[in-house]
Amino acid sequence: MAKRIDVSGLNAYYGNFRAVEDISMTIEPRTVTAFIGPSGCGKSTFLRTLNRMHEVIPGARVEGKVMLDDENLYGANIDPVAVRRTVGMVFQRPNPFPTMSIKENVAAGLKLNGVRNKKVIDEAVERSLRGANLWNEVKDRLDKPGAGLSGGQQQRLCIARAIAVEPRVLLMDEPCSALDPISTLAIEDLIGQLKEQFTIVIVTHNMQQAARVSDRTAFFNLAGVGQPGRLIEIDSTEKIFSNPSVQATEDYISGRFG
């Protein structure tokens, strides 16, 4: 089942540099939340703290609390590997494993979870590829390399790979920035379907995209170069794009800066 995310007092560091400062927010289950803001405002960094991917970078660390329903992801006896199996992630550039076929790519997460039963894997592969709106395009070439697909197909393959392990939350870090408009549309449609099952958080540089796909929008900003990024406001997408509470948000969405 999709889960609620409740962040309080979160700081993220790269070495001694504080990239994200004191963020608190609540993300409701089965909604799409979009993070917008200028480059360097820490929205991707913050996204990566939600599945403990931030700390895989040498020297990076996190302070604060991220509650997934009633479990703190940064609690003492929490295994980051288990967190990442619950909170899936899709990256900016499509990154299917080049050494694997389409089917092996989708099954990669299942294999990591110790699933060996061929029938179970085949069913999960089909379900996930259907879920990612890719099944009809690839069902006849499941054994061909995943790297042979187009960029948009590769990104949907990555989404299929992420949802195959049935995560509760799906994080997407600018999933369409490397794609053409048609592929982008396909992914956006997909996001609309996926939110029936998953809690989705998407980072985007494209404000129209945020307006199209999200229920709630969070605006991040930074005071200047070398300053940490902060959450300026989070509200319903409609409100953010029509009548935001903070002047900086309005300046940003109306194109006055950033």
Binding site: F91, F97, P98, T99, G109, A147, R161, A162
Partner: protein, 347 residues
């Protein structure tokens, strides 16, 4: 041949009006876009000549070596009173002359296989430790040590093997014989002898080929795109699972190439083998026994004191080594080519 591209005019009958920029139709005169000689075309031609010349020179040298080896080998083999392929003895001074590569070819392969079995896993372990586990400072220091190991002359490894490793292998051999003697290869005919054996040689060779395999595979592992590693981590892979899912498959062809470089050195190593092994021209698959010899060692040991057919016989042995190396490399290429579309080289 100055501007080879200009001669590749469009196929006849296809729109002759679409003239080439470089003035393929002379009646138009020299436009500002024609080749005035200062657009670097000459440098292009010189470079093309130099690079294709180098490539051709390599082929010519290879062919010349093969031809030389073959001609001399044929004259030796026709003087041989034994069967060159199945005889294990090496009597080129005696009458009648009998020699064959059976024993020394098998000895070469055994020592190289022992070396590979030990060196490849250890090298990959070191390479992965350097690329993915060690803190940067330790990784750097370890990298230097590995490179240093590559710079040690082979005679030094040979002396170390003969003076240190051989006496210390007695206990190891006794243990292997006691617990693994049933596997046949670890059986000792005469327990307790000085183990100047193919097994000891294999260990020395393993240490010698370790640096090259480590250095090459480390470079490959460092080239694995961060995006693939993060993809695995984000699926909930542990570090070892990430290495198994993203790093090793990506580096597969590189690992094979690295191993082949090491194997090439192990097959051809002369000095270290000659120092450690006491040669005997018998086939003995009990690798702990002080028996057997390798092709390179035989050539080195006997070249000084043989002449005529004796020398040609050594050249024939060299040809066999050449062929073994070619076969091994061919096999490696097949392994790499079989999964070419999955190589990730274009990612």
């Amino acid at each position: 041949m100055e501007t080879p591209r200009d001669t590749s005019a469009p196929p006849s009958g296809q729109q002759p009006s679409s003239s080439n920029l470089a003035g393929a139709s002379p009646q138009r005169g020299r436009s500002s876009l024609s080749d005035t000689g200062n657009t670097g075309r000459r440098g292009d031609a010189i470079f093309k000549f130099a690079s294709s010349g180098s490539g051709i020179a390599l082929l010519v040298i290879m062919a010349a070596i093969a031809a030389f080896l073959t001609v001399r080998a044929v004259s030796a083999i026709s003087a041989d009173h034994g069967n060159f392929l199945t005889t294990s003895d090496w009597q080129t001074q005696a009458d009648p002359i009998t020699f064959g590569i059976a024993a020394i070819a098998i000895g070469t392969i055994i020592s190289a296989v022992v070396a590979m079995v030990i060196a490849v896993p250890v090298s990959l372990g070191i390479a992965l430790f350097i690329s993915h586990y060690a803190p940067r400072r330790i990784a750097q220091a370890l990298g230097y040590v590995v490179d240093l190991l590559a710079a040690v002359p082979s005679i030094v490894f040979g002396l170390w093997g003969a003076l240190f490793l051989v006496p210390h292998m007695i206990g190891v051999n006794a243990w292997l014989n006691q617990y693994f003697g049933w596997t046949y290869i670890f059986h000792q005919n005469e327990p307790g002898t000085q183990p100047r054996s193919l097994f000891t040689v294999g260990i020395v060779l393993a240490i010698m080929i370790l640096p090259i395999i480590t250095a090459v595979s480390r470079e490959i592992f460092l080239q694995v795109p961060r995006a693939h590693e993060e993809a695995a981590l984000a699926l909930g892979a542990t570090r070892w699972e990430m290495i198994r899912t993203a790093v090793i498959p990506f580096g597969r062809s590189g690992i094979v190439s690295a191993s082949m470089l090491g194997l090439g050195r192990a097959l051809g190593e002369t000095m270290a083998v000659a120092t450690v092994l006491s040669p005997s021209y018998v086939i003995n698959l009990h690798i702990l026994d002080p028996a057997g010899s390798t092709i390179a060692q035989t050539i080195a040991n006997q070249f000084g004191e043989s002449q005529g057919v004796g020398r040609d016989a050594l050249i024939a042995a060299g040809l066999v080594l050449f062929v073994i190396t070619l076969l091994v490399n061919g096999a490696a290429r097949l392994i790499i080519a079989r999964r070419k579309e999955y190589s990730g080289a274009d990612a």
